[in-house]
Amino acid sequence: MTAVAERSAAAEPKAGEIPSFEVTLKIRRYTPETHGDEAYWEEHTVTAHGTDRLLDALHKIKWESDGSLTFRRSCAHGVCGSDAMRINGRNRLACKALLKDLNPDKPITVEPIKGLPVIKDLVVDMEPFFASYREIMPFLITTGTEPSRERLQSPEQRARFDDTTKCILCAACTSSCPVFWTDGQYFGPAAIVNAHRFIFDSRDEGGAQRLEILNDKEGVWRCRTTFNCTEACPRGIEVTKAIQEVKRAMITRAF
């Protein structure tokens, strides 16, 4: 009885109601405390609704069937950078990946981002990523006495680096970069994006120092312009363009 009633309700959703559907997630798990040192795949099927994101499906699994499934998340709307993961082979934020856009007919693969050591399931050690970020001196560098009011900056000068101020340090770009996968020493796109944010800020006087750092053998020249990073960036930052601008600044020393 109930089953029939449910099915007919599902078949004829009320006007404006978003129909629900089933999705299967194929998750790459790594739980050394209970399953030894090898990572393994695990499938879960959950019922999802029209506006559900991958993060909702992961929560459903964690909250209703397997509490040990482990991932990071906080804001749930794409602004904190906690939940970058490899979804169907592409780096995205779980909280911005709508299930209905992921072709729910096939299992959705979910893996940790690549190139950083996995701690447990979808959680990686972010420290190497943040270490690169810290190396490019990600702070305003000025000399002379502090002004008593604000420093002046025209809207045009501000627009010059607007795009790279959006970065949420999610590592989606860096961990999608083939150069970073093979050479963990490479600064990676996110660090260069954050260097760009200061190099092109008219108030900053540390551009030359930063370019020196990025001119290093593991620096900006290792970029092979594969555009993976630009595609991966959930903030829509034109990462490759920013890297190109840094390269150009290095040659012309004009920024």
Binding site: E33, T70, C75, T165
Partner: protein, 612 residues
């Protein structure tokens, strides 16, 4: 177990925590402990702006700002604190600019400013442009900029460490402190997520900066991690929580999801409409319409829906209309929030109005402090060495309703003050002894939870808590609905004592952490409901349908909620006879919530009726 020793320990690395850290670490040995990587903190979600009477684009001054803050808070604001905040606002913004924050600029290159709800020229004449902003990601830029400065100054962070206990010299839930005896803090106990190890941090000063508690509600703009930890830690040690019944519901959450669309959308010209296309705010606030304070707009929206003028198939939301704005203007000023509408609802804001409904947004109440950030243990005494700032605290600059852009200001002004006070206190104070086994309580709680073979599921208890809070303690409240919420919470508290987790491991056990966080949520929700039951009036964010008027004669005072063990005699002058509904008995053996009051500091502005 590891033990660390720092002069100052700051709990939380959002805007308030990092602003405090910049001051404190420049003066003395400081550690910042945060359950999230600093840049993941929810300050980064703030969109619209941070206000200061810079007067860059039109005439403005801090006195007008103070007045608006007091009036916006429905006169429950401590006016000394509001005056300090408005006066120090200008330097707070300029400090951030000097640190590199990329504010939007005027054609002359100055910091640009825009309108925001409740901010007016000359005591309510017209909306004033007071909010400094960086597109619609002002909070993101504040968080990034403060973190950048912390990197520059090599601040010591302990990231993904959860503080689970506050160590005080006295357990105030168990007995009153004799006059003349000091209560002091001696450190905190933390849990390292990646290893499961316990760390004791001994400190002369501790600053609580753990942010809000929006997750007591189902529909909220707050992050999953905003579980009221700092408030609960203080409360469980017997320290009072102030004005917890005042929770702000932001008018424009994406319908069904709660994700916030900043008030900046209305500041830039957006209009709220009901199903008939009517600009209904003209009826509720004829002068400033859509830019009335949040409590008024949120209630007006809920009322439209209640009276059948809601839009959509279920008539359960209203519409935020941006379609008359130039797309280029939207892209320049509101890029992120229009993207939220596209991503999450599939709505194109250039051409379609966006479905919105009020969402639980901001805790006006919290750990009571004075203007130096010192935490109070009753109406007058401070806890030596303990400070609080930001959304976790209540100083009280927001009274019963916070004005938009005043929180990013609050975290900067009072974060800075708390950081300075904490460092200065530590410089002169001697070390307080830790108890024999400071981590015992935390270890026991964690082990109990981990070892319980099976029991209630965390997510069930949490969902039911959030549901009852949404149903019974939201925009509209009555004695009946609140009593229901209270009873539900008692049942859920009992079920919580039987909660078990599936993940029994030590490494990165977020299952265990969610269980602990749920305990915080339950305690915080209880204080909200008890405060709301007692307050038989309507003021700011707290609206009682059975008492729809503000009642200054009986309720022009702050609420103080204290936890006490059952049977502990109550003779403290801080406690007062309850004035409102009789609070039902808690479950057997459970500690009680006792209510006291604290006078409101009124300096110049006498309470008036709040009209816009």
């Amino acid at each position: 177990m590891q033990t660390h020793q720092f002069d100052v320990v700051i709990v939380g690395a959002g805007g308030a925590g990092m602003r405090a850290a910049l001051e404190s670490s420049a003066r003395t040995r400081t550690a910042v402990i945060s359950k999230l990587y600093p840049t993941r903190s929810h300050t980064g979600a703030a969109q619209g702006g941070m206000c200061a009477a810079l007067g860059n684009v039109e005439d403005d001054n801090p006195e007008w700002h103070t007045f608006d803050t007091v009036k916006g808070g429905d006169y429950l604001v401590d006016q000394d604190a509001a005056t300090i905040m408005a006066n120090e606002a200008i330097d707070a913004v300029l400090d951030l600019e000097r640190m590199g924050l990329p504010f939007n600029r005027t054609p002359e290159g100055r910091i640009d400013q825009r309108r925001f709800g409740g901010h007016t020229r000359n005591h309510g004449e017209a909306a004033v442009r007071r909010a400094c902003y960086a597109a619609d990601r002002t909070g993101h830029m504040i968080l990034q900029t403060l973190y950048q400065q912390c990197v520059k100054n090599e601040v010591a962070f302990f990231n993904e460490f959860y503080v689970l206990d506050l160590i005080l010299t006295h357990d105030l839930t168990g007995r009153e402190v004799p006059e003349g005896e000091d209560v002091a803090v001696s450190g905190v106990v933390a849990y390292e997520l990646s290893t499961g190890e316990i760390h004791v941090f001994r400190a002369k000063s501790v600053v609580l900066a753990t942010g809000g508690a929006g997750k007591i509600y189902k529909t909220t703009s707050n992050a999953h991690t905003l579980t009221g930890d700092g408030m609960a830690l203080a409360y469980r040690r017997g320290l009072p929580l102030e004005d917890m019944e005042f929770f702000q519901f932001h008018p424009t959450g994406l319908a069904g999801l709660g994700i916030l669309l900043s008030e900046a959308a209305r500041g830039e010209g957006g209009i709220l409409r009901n199903a008939d296309g009517e600009r209904f705010m003209e009826r509720y606030a004829p002068t400033i319409k859509d830019l009335a304070p949040r409590d008024i707009v949120a209630r007006s929206m809920a009322n439209e829906v209640r009276e059948g003028r809601g839009a959509g198939p279920n008539k359960d939301y209203v519409l935020l209309d941006l379609t008359h704005l130039d797309p280029a203007h939207i892209d320049a000023k509101l890029p992120d929030i229009t993207e939220f509408a596209r991503t999450y609802l599939g709505i194109e804001p250039y051409t379609e109005p966006v479905p919105v409904y009020p969402t639980a947004h901001y805790a006006m109440g919290g750990v009571p402090t004075n203007v130096e950030g010192e935490v109070l243990r009753d109406t007058t005494h401070v806890v030596k060495g303990l400070y609080a700032a930001g959304e976790v605290a209540c100083v009280s600059v927001h009274g019963s309703n916070r004005l938009g852009t005043n929180s990013l200001l609050d975290i900067n002004v009072f974060g800075k003050r708390a950081g300075i006070s904490a460092a200065e206190y530590a410089a002169g104070a001697s070390w307080v002894d830790l108890p024999a086994d400071p981590a015992a309580a935390v270890v026991e709680e964690l082990e109990d939870m981990r070892n319980r073979p099976q029991g209630e599921r965390v997510s069930d208890v949490r969902r039911e808590l959030q549901q009852t809070m949404d149903t019974n303690a939201q925009v509209f409240r009555t004695a009946e609905s609140l009593r229901q919420a209270f009873q539900d919470i008692q049942v859920l508290q009992e079920r919580y004592s039987r909660v078990s987790v599936q993940d029994k491991g030590r490494m990165f056990n977020t299952d265990l952490i969610e269980a602990i966080e749920l305990g915080f949520l339950l305690d915080i929700a209880e204080t909200v409901v008890v405060g709301a039951l007692n307050r038989r009036e309507s003021r700011g964010g707290h609206f009682r349908e059975d008492y729809p008027k503000r009642d200054d004669e009986n309720f022009m005072e702050h609420t103080m909620a204290y936890r006490r063990q059952p049977g502990v005699p109550v003779d403290s002058p801080a406690l007062s006879a309850p004035k409102g509904e009789e609070v039902p008995e808690p479950g057997p053996g459970r500690p009680v919530v006792l209510l006291g009051t604290k006078p409101v500091v009124t300096t110049v502005y006498q309470p008036m009726e709040r009209k816009y």
